[in-house]
């Protein structure tokens, strides 16, 4: 998730806490990335429609695998857990764009 390594002590501390929190959340043990767990409101649904096909298919696979594991009360082997450093916010650019467009539309409609 980190783009560049933090240089200050407080930055390293914060990064350490973020990494701990990421692992404590537990979705990585089901093979999910953070953006897979976003609640599908209207904005997220619109952003999902803009995903490239391969990214969407990979997302579907991860979700299907997580649902299956959850139903069986299991988690993945540790070597298959998604690492904090490997997690990609693949949906974030599209989501930001959708939200920006919605806000612009709402602002326009107010006039």
């Amino acid at each position: 998730m980190a783009v560049r390594a933090p240089v200050s002590a407080s930055g390293r501390l914060l990064e350490g806490f973020r990494k701990w929190y990421y692992n404590a959340a537990g979705f990585n043990k089901l093979g999910l990335m953070r953006d897979d767990t976003l609640y599908e409101n209207d904005d997220v649904k619109a952003a999902l429609k803009r995903l490239p096909e391969n990214a969407y298919n990979e997302r579907l696979f991860r979700i299907k695998r997580a649902l299956d594991l959850s139903m069986k009360q299991q988690i993945l082997p540790e070597e298959q857990w998604v690492k904090y450093e490997e997690d990609k916010k693949y949906l974030e650019p599209y989501l930001k764009e959708v939200i920006r467009e919605r806000l612009e539309r709402e602002e326009w409609d107010k006039k």
């Binding site: 973020r18 929190y21 404590a24 959340a25 537990g26 979705f27 043990k29 089901l30 999910l32 897979d36 767990t37 976003l38 609640y39 599908e40 409101n41 904005d43 997220v44 579907l60 979700i63 299907k64 997580a66 649902l67 299956d68 959850s70 139903m71 009360q73 299991q74 988690i75």
Partner: protein, 365 residues
């Protein structure tokens, strides 16, 4: 997550499986209706006859003791299932289905109202004073409070008019609940059920049989075995009507103020010690405020079950409610002098949970 310490053993995991509680609730609702109808065949809603009619049901009617105790204990089991159902909804973020959630809150309030008016019907000491205290809460409303209370009473105190109309409401409200339950399910079927991961499962549905048919069968077996267990019918169980006093006195006997009743808010220990009812009304509002506005407090896209701090907050809320519940029957009315109650009450009333939850749901991490 499902393999964390919250799921220690396989049998407990299976017992905690989500739909078990609501299928049990549905069956209990049916059981309550049937036992209630049979009780209504022998009950008399008149202050001179009510108590003795309940005694008659218990002693003379064939299996009347069983029907009466199933109805009384079934109500408590009903509420336990509902609280588990609500707890599941909070933990897994099911409140995001707003229409389903709001109809559910209405159902909870109607169920509590039904239980309250039903508790009055045996016309024992707890029935009378419970009715007096709770209806008097409405006197807190400015200007019209006293008039409203007397209108509900049908007189200047809880008396025969009150008993007869409470019997009417107790008979009518369950059918209203049934209708609203249909609406609750209708809204749920618009979106489909949630699941422990909170993910959209439309691509991965499973057939009703054998998964849910066997799960519902387990609920049926538990639901028919638990209410008929005679070990629940001792004198220390729920909603016990005192047999020594037939007519309500002018003042509540001191020892009667510690009876056990699980159908209401865990704040009942606090209720019973309250002399200032306006204070009670004000303090009880965080409870309903929290439930009612929970969907609207959730402003980000993340699932609550994947946030460790939210999980800690949820379980500390449950622990707080359990501590308050345990303290209800264990202590005397001097609740303010007991530090074992003051700290849980402080956390409950201080909007501690709401503010922390707000921090969580508004977090950008």
């Amino acid at each position: 997550i499902n393999n964390s310490y919250h799921w220690p053993t396989k049998p407990i995991r299976h017992l905690c499986l989500m739909k078990l509680w609501i299928s049990t609730t549905h069956l209990l609702s049916f059981l309550q209706t049937i036992t209630g109808i049979f009780l209504a065949m022998h009950y008399s809603p008149d202050i001179s006859l009510a108590f003795s009619s309940v005694v008659h049901i218990t002693r003379d009617v064939q299996y009347g003791w069983l029907i009466r105790n199933m109805h009384a204990n079934g109500a408590s089991l009903f509420f336990m299932c509902i609280y588990l159902h609500i707890g599941r909804g909070i933990y897994y973020g099911s409140y995001l289905y707003k229409e389903t959630w709001n109809t559910g809150i209405t159902l909870l309030l109607l169920t509590m109202a039904t239980a309250f008016v039903g508790y009055v019907l045996p016309w024992g000491q707890m029935s009378f004073w419970g009715a007096t205290v709770i209806t008097n809460l409405l006197s807190a409303i400015p200007y019209v409070g006293d008039t409203l209370v007397q209108w509900i009473w049908g007189g200047f105190s809880v008396d025969n008019a009150t008993l007869t109309r409470f019997f009417t409401f107790h008979f009518l409200l369950p059918f209203t609940i049934m209708g609203l339950t249909m609406m609750h399910l209708l809204f749920l079927h618009e979106t489909g059920s949630n699941n422990p991961t909170g993910l959209n499962s439309n691509t991965d549905k499973i057939p009703f049989h054998p998964y849910f048919s066997y799960k519902d069968l387990l609920g049926l077996i538990l639901n028919t075995s638990l209410p008929t267990d005679p070990s629940h019918y001792s004198s220390l169980t729920y909603c016990e009507t005192p047999t020594t006093l037939h007519q309500p006195t002018l003042y509540p006997p001191h020892h009667m103020l510690n009876q056990n009743d699980t159908s209401y808010s865990p704040m009942q220990s606090y209720d019973q010690s309250q002399t200032n009812q306006e204070e009670y009304s004000l303090y009880n509002s965080p409870f309903s405020y929290y439930f009612k506005y929970l969907p609207y407090m959730h402003q980000n896209n993340e699932q609550p079950q994947f946030r460790p701090l939210t999980q800690i907050l949820f379980w500390s809320l449950i622990a707080n409610l359990l501590v308050l519940n345990m303290n209800r029957s264990a202590t005397s009315c001097k609740i303010h002098s007991s530090s074992s109650d003051q700290y849980p009450l402080f956390f409950y009333f201080s909007k501690f949970y709401q503010s922390l939850y707000l921090l969580q749901v508004h977090s950008k991490t």
